[in-house]
Amino acid sequence: MRTSLILLVAALSASTAHAADVYVPGSKNDPNLRAAQYQSDEGRYFSSLTELLRMDSESKLSNDARWLMAEDYLSFGMGNKAEPLYRDIAQTTEDQLLLGRARLRLAEFSYQRGYLDEARSALLKMQEKLPKKLVEQWQDLLSRVLMAKGSYSEAVSVLTNLDNAGKQSQYTRYNLGVALINDGRAPQGRDLLDRVGRMRVMTLEDLALRDKANLTLGWHFLHNQLGGSAKAIFGRVRSQGPYSNRALLGLGWAELAPRGAKQEHSDVVNPEDQPFFSSFSTLGVLLRPGFVDNDIFKRAGLRNFRLEKLAKTEDAALKRALVAWVTLINRDPMDPAVQEGWLAIPYSLDKLGAHTQALQFYEKAVEQLELNRKRADAAMGSIKQGRMVDTIVKRDIDAENGWTWRLTDLPDAPETYYLQTLLAEHRFQEALKNYRDTRMLAHNIDGWQDRIKAMEAAYQNPDRANVSPDVLVKQATENKTPVWTDTNNAPTELRSEDTLSVPGAYDKPLGEESKATPEVELASGTPTQAQSDHEKVEALKGRLVTLQKSLAQANDEQSKILQTLAIKELTGQKKQIEKYLVEARFALARLYDRQMKGELNDK
């Protein structure tokens, strides 16, 4: 009695849910759609799509659901499926901004995957109805597509026709600068790059962009024999950063290159332009007077010397170049800039008449380059065995983020040091994403083997058959208004009947009225839709085997493409190392020869 009372009180104290709210399947209120939305929001596009496809097979999807499906398809790297969905939604939606953003994202996908013509055509097509808010994004993307196609002049037109430079991002300005230089309009290009190289920075990305602009401009000046201008620009690059090694190399050459004419800045005044200031240590700091004069030869491992034949200014320039290069050769030896630094030092010493010192440095350079050649061989072996790609994608193997996956850092493997530039390129990144995806899909399909076994076990479970017929009838009639009536127009009650004869057991003759044979038209062939669950499971098993094979083949082909790219890149770098080695050895031979002849009398 007491227990019952407690239970009653407990039951009353618990709140009771209201009557169930009704939702239209596939509509905004369908909890299954909201669950797909949640999966999409946590980057599980594959799971979200699976849910949406299941819903689609059961009922008509609302526009909200179809929009989510298009977004998921694109995020999972399936632009082909996303594009027609967006096109369909465009017929009915009023939200041009949302649609415009989706189209830009689709074009970005095409661009990154390498479908440049498709990207260009899609962007030009959307120009007519382009919302104002998206103009700058559209210009930026179209210009990148055109530059990737080598159409610099067209890219410049896209970025300048609308006269909206003030609204463009620094990235766009950088690209415009590059496009202008490549289009033969160097002064305007230089001016833009110079502005980006002096921009106010707020984030690490800004810093990287500013360094990149200064590096590009510096090397442009250097190639045009404008050492004086190049030197100032290289000096703006941070001393520690992704572009610092290339800048150090350039800074050294800029000291020894002809100064060239002074460059004029544009007359256009932009309030955002600032005189260059950075709270980060930049390469310019390396050339402060005390640092250059004190002990540069000691740091370079050279005996202090003064070349009598050199003018005072040349001697000072050499010292400053050595400051940059000695700093450089103490950095990552696998960086091609560092390798070049090892040759730049003796080359300059030799040019300036310091032959003995040049000889010493060439010997060290050969040692370093030989070491690098061995490392490159080891890296090549690792790539050929497929270890490199596996190592890169080892983490988050089951992540479902497809196209939105980003490689944020690199494993500590020798080959990745040589391939940094290639690894950051779209052609490699996108291939890597496909490789990851095929592995994830294969893993998913393998997992279904056990799940299918569990399904078969559930169908064979004897308890499963014991569902009361009443339950099934109630299930069929619940929440439904009967549409059938008996002769008195009263609703016919549907109930289970367990006293009927089993099929075939009824043997009384049929009445006269039943004698007429009804006309029955039989469909030809076996009905495809009338599969039992057991048959469906059997069909799944067949599909599973086929998919396993196809995925393994696709994964293998993708792996080969990545290997080919990596080997091509590494072969190029190895050739460069060998070229440096030949140069170093030839220079050494020449110097030894002159030493034997007694011609090396540098003082």
């Binding site: 009771t16 849910a17 169930a20 709210d21 009704v22 939702y23 399947p25 369908d30 909890p31 299954n32 909201r34 669950a35 939305q37 949640y38 594959f46 699976t50 299941r54 097979s57 790297g77 082909n80 995957r113 390498g114 930026d140 990148r144 530059m147 990737a148 990235y171 950088y174 590059v178 962009l209 520690q240 992704p242 850092d409 690199l410 990745t416 040091y417 690894l423 950051a424 779209h426 052609r427 990144q429 291939a431 496909n434 995806d437 998913n444 399909i445 799940r451 569990a454 559930a458 339950v471 099934l472 109630k474 669950d533 469906k536 499971v537 599973l544 998919l547 696709a554 082909e557 993708q558």
Partner: protein, 192 residues
Amino acid sequence: MPLKSCRKAVRALIVAASCATGTLWAAAPVQPPPESGALKLDQTIQDLKEEVLQFNSDASALEQNSLYPSYSRTSVFLGVRLSGLLIKEFSVTFDGGAPEKFTFDEIESLAFLQNKGLRRVMRVNLEPGQHKIRAEFIAQFADAKPDALPITGNLEAIFDKNYNNTDLGLMLVRTGFRAEPSLTLEQTRSAR
């Protein structure tokens, strides 16, 4: 900083910077486009993805029917309708049984807040009729001080499991202006 870790940090930065901007490497020299073989394979993989998705959709529908027949299927969804509230832990139990416990990492907690999504936390088989559900949560506001006590709460409710698939939505909400976050139960059913 040791040389190696410094080098690694710089390498991470190179990749992060180039990926984040998307344009850094798009400049001169322009990246060569992929070869036609790579594009053809991309098309094949896109088709394969569709086949695998269709397989998963068909298989999961069958799995759902076999393991959770619709007359007993009960799905529990969890949602958070309070801006800035990050759910950390959640548990649910039916009719005094053993609780099913869930913990959420930051990405999962944030996903609740983005587009009013619901997470399907579980599916169970329950006989048609009256049942008792008990759920508990531990959460914290994103801007809470590090030493702030976590927000906790629970809900007990009785609901009628009908003869068709039943959906139960547990929503983390604030029921009044100054009320503490609490759970509410919503029962929904398909019109089909």
